[in-house]
């Protein structure tokens, strides 16, 4: 049952006029893409099938601290089968209240309140992260991984976003003595020649880390490969076994300095830890 609409001192209800500003603010703080002008207005209010009963908010002490929106639509299932579905979008919870089960309750609310049933919605679908399937999506709302024959093609014109990321890494490294120590033995220059992206090099020095667009003069390592896989290496989210696997299968080629492969992995792991540490410091309320 709905637990009388209350869970962890939050109350849950459908959208009502006057909530707009608070929801937009919450979304802008949760998803950078909502900082784009008019995205909220387009996605919610301009949507021809916008239905206030499919926009759920979580309230704590009169303040909106979470929201979840469902876009009502017809989805094709096969030849003649077309059914009414709801696309779950923008589950946003205020950073102060994350990890308290608000997201779970937001996902469950329209299922339990009967809002979906009233509208004849037979299925719900959403996009998310695979690692959350067992931890959140399946226990909260019975989500299973959907079949998908879609492929994404990407081409980068410049390294602006990557450069920004490495500037963040550099700041994180500079502000942490522990990280500097760890990077002392990992100094090197890694050149990336990736499909779908301009050439760039990452310079790792004990005191700083930076990305340089173009060909490096004398790199210690040259990595060639597909853009997404190499991004996993850059992001430090690829495991050692994955790294060896992609290298063995030829998806990533190391043209020079093969011996450095674990050193690279270690360096990027250090970056990731430094970034996580910095974001934790930033998030901690005073």
């Amino acid at each position: 049952m709905l637990d009388e609409g209350r869970y962890l001192r939050c109350s849950y209800r459908e959208f009502r006029d006057g909530d707009e500003v608070a929801i937009e603010e919450l979304l802008k703080n949760s998803f950078p893409r909502f900082k784009e002008s008019n995205l909220w207005f387009w996605k919610y209010k301009l949507n021809p099938s916008f239905d206030p009963s499919l926009l759920v908010v979580a309230e704590k002490d009169g303040e909106i601290v979470g929201c979840n929106y469902w876009l009502l639509r017809d989805l094709k299932l096969s030849g003649n089968a077309q059914v009414k579905v709801a696309l779950g979008a923008d589950v946003a919870v205020h950073p102060k209240h994350r990890g308290c089960g608000i997201g779970t309750e937001l996902m469950r609310y329209p299922r339990l309140s009967g809002a979906f049933k009233e509208k004849g919605i037979l299925m719900s679908y959403m996009f998310g992260r695979l690692e959350l399937t067992k931890r959140l999506y399946e226990p909260a709302a019975g989500y299973v991984v959907a079949p998908n024959c879609t492929i994404t093609y990407k081409k980068l014109f410049n390294c602006r976003q990557l450069k920004e990321r490495f500037q963040q890494i550099d700041q994180a490294v500079k502000s942490n003595e522990e990280t500097k120590k760890k990077l002392k033995n990992l100094a090197m220059c890694v050149s990336f020649k990736l499909k779908g992206a301009p050439e760039f090099a990452v310079h790792i020095e004990p005191a700083r880390v930076y990305l340089e667009e173009g060909e490096a003069e004398n790199p210690d390592v040259i990595i060639e490969g597909n853009l997404p896989l190499s991004f996993l290496i850059v992001g430090g989210t690829i495991g050692v076994s994955d790294l060896v696997k992609v290298w063995f299968t030829g998806k990533v080629k190391i043209r020079k300095g093969l011996v450095h492969i674990f050193k690279i992995r270690k360096a990027f792991k250090v970056f990731q830890t430094a970034l996580n540490y910095k974001s934790q410091i930033t998030r901690t309320p005073k």
Binding site: W42, D74, L77, L122, G142, C149, I151, K155, F157, N226
Partner: protein, 265 residues
């Protein structure tokens, strides 16, 4: 069919193009699933009115009076929709649309171009490879069934199954979320498909399984035979194995799923 590039003309969107674009999209995606069939109202919202899209970011390609392709490109570099008429020189159409997309994205200051395509569309793959695009899997998608009996009914009615006799299958589901029906029946016969809420006295086949298994079976991420062999699906009487297998196979939607970027929201 080969046509020279000179037979095709390109121009940016003008009001009134919607009907032809929507018709082309729905025709070309008729054999795929997972997308929202376009209506003019939906297309206007998901493409034209999107805050990221300018009318100058929609390129329409024509051969004579016929619309043979179009691309909707946002200022972010997202290709929200790219569609071509496969009866014409598709390679020329896709190459022209993508070359224009790259030029347009650069001109509006995008850092990248991102396009979703159907995995088995070898033509788009070939053109993207020629243009040095990198491939990556799409954002993972998840689905949850809210009204399983009704969903089964819709699928079975659409497929018009032909089981030899009147047959009642009674489902007992475990690991079922509270908003789902745990027990229900499906009656298949000459008069079509019906859902039963109460057990009937006539002979029936009882199928017991976990809800996630059944959903995975229905959407083709789990094989029917494997589920039976590995005892993920229990049923009795056992001699109805072929009918159970047939029912579960009919319930499987094997149509490949394609999600255009415009549908992601």
């Amino acid at each position: 069919m080969a046509y020279s590039t000179s037979e095709y003309t390109t121009r940016t969107y003008i009001p009134g193009d919607e009907t032809a674009l929507v018709l082309l999209f729905n025709t070309e995606h008729a054999n795929l699933a997972g997308f929202v069939p376009r209506t003019i109202e939906y297309w206007r919202w998901c493409c034209l009115k999107r805050s990221d899209v300018d009318e100058k970011g929609i390129l329409v390609m024509e051969k004579g009076d016929r619309t043979v392709g179009y691309a909707v490109v946002g200022k972010s570099g997202n290709v929200w929709e790219l569609c071509y008429d496969s009866h014409y020189d598709a390679k020329t159409i896709v190459s022209t649309l993508l070359a224009w997309t790259l030029r347009y994205a650069r001109s509006v200051g995008s850092d990248s171009v991102v396009l979703n395509a159907y995995t088995n569309d070898s033509l788009v793959r070939e053109v993207c490879q020629d243009m040095d695009f990198a491939e990556s899997p799409p954002e993972p998608m998840f689905l949850s069934v809210l009204d399983l009996p009704q969903l089964m009914c819709e699928i079975l009615q659409a497929k018009e199954p032909s089981l030899d006799t009147d047959e009642v299958f009674w489902f007992n589901l475990k690991n079922c979320p509270p908003w789902c029906t745990k027990s229900f029946g499906v009656r298949l016969g000459k008069n079509g498909v019906s859902i039963l809420e109460e057990p009937v006295s006539i002979s029936r086949t009882t199928i017991e399984t976990e809800m996630p298994t059944l959903v995975a079976l229905m959407f083709g991420t789990e094989s029917v035979l494997k589920a039976i062999i590995y005892s993920k699906v229990h049923f009795h009487p056992f001699w109805k194995i072929s009918k159970v297998r047939k029912l579960l196979s009919i319930l499987q939607t094997k149509t490949p799923w394609f999600i255009p970027r415009a549908d992601i929201g």
